[in-house]
């Protein structure tokens, strides 16, 4: 299995993390996974809203100062 893509959003503030994730996911294949790290406290809510709208899944979410999320692209 190819290594999972990683997007570093640690220096980005709302809404830039999901802008970056969205851009990546758009060109990814359905079912592709990506790991994201972010520090913005608004990240979790933004990510959940984005996933809900686009039909994507948040496979894992680790809260903390550095939040780590694993996202799977939904079917097209």
């Amino acid at each position: 299995m190819p290594p999972m893509e990683f997007i570093d959003c640690k220096t980005l503030r709302c809404p830039m993390p999901i802008v970056q994730i969205g851009r990546f996911i758009k060109q990814a294949a359905p079912g592709a996974r990506v790991r994201v790290e972010a520090c913005d406290p608004a990240f979790r809510a933004d990510l959940e809203a984005w996933a809900r709208r686009g039909g994507h899944t948040i496979v894992e979410f680790e809260p903390g100062t550095i939040q780590t999320a694993v996202i799977e692209k939904g079917p097209g």
Binding site: T11, L12, R13, C14, P15, M16, I18, V19, I21, G22, D46, A49, W50, R53, G54
Partner: protein, 187 residues
Amino acid sequence: MTEAGTLPSTEALWARLRTLEAEVSQLSRRVPEERVSLLVVNGDFERVHTALMLAHAAVALELEVSLYFAMWGVQALRAKGPGRSRTVYARCLNAILASNVSGLPSSRMNFGGLGPLALVRLMQKHAIASPAQLLDLATEAGVALVACPLSLSLFELTPADLLPDVEVRGAASFLEEATRSRFSAVF
């Protein structure tokens, strides 16, 4: 359904189907699109900033978004650099108002323009994109930037005075789009 004499005839079914198709077609025309329409009238720093933030968030949520700039808002769409020579009235008016997106006044603590400068500096410190940065990225992100032609005439601006990629369309065009949007707001 298998009881004798209760099955509708084929003609009746076709007629019912045609009626339903017409109804569905009518209803689907009224369902809002995945679209957001934002009206920027005020032209103040924080309003333009918020509108642009929402526009970028909308793109991230895969919504179509149009930002319609009217009245003072058109100042945010002006290109940098000296304008063409205009009447004295227009030159004065445009000099008093913002020069472009980097010169927008804030509605509070403007302090003759120092307020927004301090705000932008604070934003940079907190890694928040400034209005100028957001506007710069807007077209590439797929945000439609639209200027009101009447407001342009008021300030004797022409499309040549504005940033490239700015559409010029009137109220009816924007409003029609807004009626098809799931969300619309005025800034």
